[in-house]
Amino acid sequence: MSEWRFWLNEQRGTLMGLAIFLVMFVVYVANHPAGFTANVVHTAANKGVLLAFVAMAQALVVITAGIDLSVGMIFVLTNCIASWIVVGAAVPSALGVVAVLAAGMLCGAVNGLLVIYGRLQPIVATIATGAVYFGLALLLRPFPGGSVNEELADALTGRLFGVIPSSLVALTAVVLIVWLPFRRSVVGRAAYAAGSSEPAAFMSGMPIRRGKFAAYLLGGLLAGMGGLFLTFFTYTGEAAYASGSAYTLWSIAAVVLGGVSLYGGRGSAVGAIFGAFAARTTGDMLFAFDVEPLWQPLLQGIVLMIAVSIGSLALLRVRNRLDWFQ
């Protein structure tokens, strides 16, 4: 019985993210003209999965008490790379996928090196690298274009057994293959420890640097996966600055909605996924309610604001006011 309580306490942020998403999704589906059908779910999944990848990437870095403002640009850059090399027969396409993911990891590694060994502030370091990554994307794709192995793309964006969106299956697989091992490894724990209290982690002899580096590295990988899926959805590559920036900002919102603390040390990438789907649904919901497009950004902002404030209710209980600033 009490084991349950501890589990609930550990997962509170994630469950809060799930709850916010479910409420929004139910409202959305209930007001959707088509209702709860495989089609509606499929569209929602495919839209949400891109932000989910980018938000997972953001979550990894935020857990170390950092922030990655280049995730959106890694996402755009890998999209452009994929539109060149994930083509042709099965073998070259597979090699292309590997290369795209490696490029994502390389971007993450550069971020990690600058922050950990260069001792730059994460926020500044990643603004700079983000600009670099976008610059590379622009050189690769001055104009939208390119192509992708369509069979692979359709397989990963279609449906399994006619009902289950395969993008969701892929997302789940990534959680199982990337996130869970990280979370359960010593480096993963070091990443959490460094985010929660770096001096205490140092005093305990934890591998702080390796933990943080792994977080940035895997963050790059996950953003790269997002870029790959973007290519599968659009069949093209495009160095879209606005889209990259929007993904960066929304990934931060998604992380907060999913219960990951911006102060580090708390939360999970799974929560960030729920947060991403919730953030996506805010947009779709207005669509279902048939709100005029002109009003959508404003109302979307208000919905997001309300959702995020739920998380800061705990501050009302603080008794030493200096704790607000810690």
Binding site: R189, G195, S196, S197, A200, G205, G265, R319, L322
Partner: protein
């Protein structure tokens, strides 16, 4: 110990010195710690005990001297290296990760692994065993550390130190937050470890604990080891004498001769002030022109008391009276305004006192902007005049008013913090250990200033970790222990001996009780 001869020391420190800036924390310190024994280290605040163990644990590096572990010279560059060699520490400032669970924390330096991943079941078993060994079965291994009260966290810290199977265990004030029942359990564990042949280094201010546990005692004073003796051979009084020494290095202005003014209500009074379990039932008065000191060991509630008076803490009980009239101090913003006119000089000038990258001018006028502005517009001339007065009054040495305050020396930075509050001409001045880490010359200037402020009618409440300061500056001293006022000393009663004895909550007069 079965062997007749004393075993060779496991840890040997030879001629170890360490400076922090201009402050000598340790000077040519010697220490030998034998296996199979409990070695107590005594000394007042700032005597160098913490620095010594930080060097042993690889947290800081010594400037001079060497350390031998098990006969070999060692030079730990990080806590991880010291831990690998077999030295485990339970620190005063806790080394637990607040967001991780108890079990995560206990196994943190070497989690059990299976297929490269942390084996959660094995981890749980280790944690349960370690908690049981420390006598803290009531702590759930899955609980998050940040949700535990301080005493439970300290037990987790001890359990954590035991899991690495150390050869030497250092406990720095490890029992300061524990209940009597927990202390008994921890003592049983420590005695068992001694039987197992560990070398234990025990730092505590609690004399009766040392009397019960220690085999050997070493007293530190001003960064040097002044005496090492077998436990039980010195009386409490003798030990207190050793801790005090006879070195007075400060010059204090003469205290005012105060006449009793019963007719006038004290400027500041609090009655039965309480906050959570950290401040209990504190009553005090500070009269016009009076300097009242707060003494005691560090962390006994002095800082919280000042924060409570300044309106930082929520949910305080009891009442605060200004000039005899009850007031509600809801925030620092109301505290600093008339009729309260309070100022709090914080201990950490970097985070709570100054905006380091901003200029001297800006820092000086922050607290007094409302006094130099009209309708939200700053009157530059008025500001300039006030600032000039302050810089002259406090003799702040700066290359100009427009240099960043971070470029000044520590002593001058502290003067800026004080000047910033004096610009409001406060009636009640709360000082939180204001001379920590500043040079002797500036200290003396500050003492003169405090006395001058008192003479001009301010009521001053002055917390200091330096006993000399309390003796030299204060008209009365309240000694806090565990969030309560345990003793009030006045005039000639304020002696180092009385201060230390009441800080330790023992009667130093009892020469008979041997340690």
């Amino acid at each position: 110990m079965t062997a007749a001869e004393t075993p060779p020391p496991l840890i040997r420190m030879e001629g170890v010195s360490k400076r922090y800036g201009g402050v000598r924390a340790l000077e040519n310190a010697q220490l030998e710690v034998a296996p199979g024994g409990i070695h107590a280290i005594l000394g007042e605040n700032g005597a160098g005990k913490s620095t010594l163990i930080k060097i042993m644990a690889g947290v800081v590096a010594a400037d001079e001297g060497r350390m031998l572990f098990d006969g070999r010279e060692v030079n730990f560059r990080s806590p991880a290296e010291a831990a690998a060699a077999g030295i485990a520490c339970v620190f005063q400032e806790l080394s637990l990760i607040p967001d991780l669970s108890v079990a995560d924390n206990i196994v943190i330096s070497n989690p059990p692994r299976r297929f490269g991943m942390i084996d959660r079941r094995a981890q749980r078993a280790i944690a349960e065993e370690a908690l049981a060994r420390a006598g803290a079965e009531d702590i759930h291994p899955r609980a998050a550390v940040k949700d535990l009260p301080l005493s439970r966290r300290q037990m987790v810290e001890i359990a954590k130190a035991l899991t690495v199977k150390p050869r030497a265990l250092i406990l720095d004030e490890a029992t300061s937050a524990l209940t009597a029942g927990d202390v008994a359990k921890v003592f049983a564990v420590l005695k068992r470890l001694r039987e197992e042949g560990l070398a234990l280094l025990y730092i505590s201010h609690r004399m009766h604990e040392i009397a019960e546990l220690a085999d050997t005692c070493t007293v530190f004073r001003n960064g040097r080891n002044v005496a090492t003796f077998e436990a039980g051979t010195r009386s409490n009084g003798e030990i207190v004498e050793m801790m005090i020494g006879r070195e007075y290095s400060h010059v204090f202005p003469p205290k005012a001769i105060r006449m009793a003014e019963p007719a006038k209500a004290p400027v500041l009074e609090c009655r039965n002030l309480g906050w959570t379990d950290r401040l209990r039932d504190i009553s005090l008065t500070v009269g016009e022109g009076e300097v009242v000191g707060l003494g005691g060991l560090e962390g006994q509630g002095q800082r919280l008391l000042l924060l409570a008076l300044f309106g930082v803490l929520r949910g305080t009980t009891g009442s605060v009276l200004i000039d005899g009239a009850p007031v509600t101090i809801s925030s620092p913003a109301t505290a600093r305004k008339s009729p309260l006119s309070m100022a709090l000089i914080p201990e950490d000038r970097n985070t709570e006192g100054l905006m380091l990258p901003m200029t001297v001018r800006e820092n000086l006028s922050f607290a007094a902007l409302d006094r130099v502005s009209r309708g939200g517009v700053i009157d530059r001339d008025k500001e300039e005049r006030l600032i000039d007065d302050m810089v002259r009054l406090l003799e702040i040495k700066t290359a100009g008013l427009d240099v960043p305050v971070g470029a000044l020396s520590g002593g001058n930075q502290q003067k800026v913090v004080i000047a910033k509050w004096l610009m409001r001409t406060p009636r009640i001045i709360l000082l939180n250990d204001p001379t920590r880490g500043i040079d002797v010359g500036t200290k003396q200037e500050l003492y003169q200033l405090l006395r001058r402020l008192a003479e001009s009618g301010a009521a001053i409440l002055f917390y200091s970790t330096d006993y000399d300061e309390l003796i030299g500056c204060c008209d009365r001293v309240l000694v806090l222990y565990d969030g309560r006022v345990v003793r009030e000393l006045e005039g000639g009663e304020i002696t180092e001996r009385a201060l230390i004895a009441s800080a330790l909550n023992v009667q130093a007069g009892q020469e008979g009780t041997a340690v």
